[in-house]
């Protein structure tokens, strides 16, 4: 293996470990924020808002969710493509390449989910129902991010050898 390829692989694995740690933090915050709540709706949000603990956890969730999304989209995905000798381009180009490898199921879903960050900020989104919708969607997309990390681990087992 050429040295350059080894360096690229090492960078990818370093980023993968960082993303896995960030994913664990997001899982913990999600658990503390939502607990047993399966159906997040407007009335539930209205009840919770104003509780300083909830407000802090909501802010933490938004920050951790956005950071994991950024790390995967802006760093890990380009690093994966470089480590496997693929071209890199815009996020859209990169996601389309990953779709071909079956590491990403739905490119539009990934692009849409980039819009969630502004919608997870209570000071900005004052309507409890919109905030509930945004949290529901962010929880769903978190699972997509976690599962994608798992797929990267499987896909790169050959790189590690």
């Amino acid at each position: 293996m050429a040295i350059e390829t080894t360096v690229r692989s090492a960078r990818f694995f370093r980023l993968l470990i960082l993303c896995q740690k960030q994913a664990e933090r997001l899982r913990g915050t999600t658990e503390r924020l939502l607990g047993e709540c399966n159906e997040i709706d407007g009335p539930w949000i209205s009840d919770c808002l104003g509780d300083p603990n909830f407000d802090d956890r909501l802010e933490s969730f938004g920050a951790k969710f956005s950071r994991l999304q950024d790390m995967i989209c802006d760093k890990l995905i380009p690093a994966f493509l470089q480590a496997t000798g693929e071209k890199t381009g815009t996020l859209l180009d990169n996601l389309n390449r990953l779709e071909k490898f079956e590491l990403v199921d739905n490119v539009e879903d990934w692009i849409e989910a980039r819009g969630l960050r502004n919608r997870l900020v209570h000071e900005y989104i004052e309507d409890p129902q919109l905030l509930a919708d945004a949290l529901t969607e962010a929880r769903r997309f978190s699972a997509v991010l976690f599962s994608t990390l798992g797929k990267f681990v499987t896909a790169t087992e050959n790189l590690a050898r």
Partner: protein, 99 residues
Amino acid sequence: MRLTDREIHIIKQKTAECFGAEAAVLLFGSRVDDGARGGDIDLYIELPAHADKVFARSMRLYGTLQIRLGLQRIDIVTHVAGQALASIHREARATGVRL
């Protein structure tokens, strides 16, 4: 206003596709200011009282515009007629320019 004719056309067309012809879209924030530079594309969308699935439609519009306009920073704020106005809605109405 710092949007090209093409960008305005795409925003109006995709807003109508996602929310229907009754939706009115305004540009607000720094892009209204011809003297400023850069900045997010802040869109305010006024919807009729019978609008449904507002969140899901907003997400779809965001994704479509990202793809069509080339991954820009876009922020979409919606307001359904008859609902309370938040401060962001008041700001958008006061300073926005209808596309």
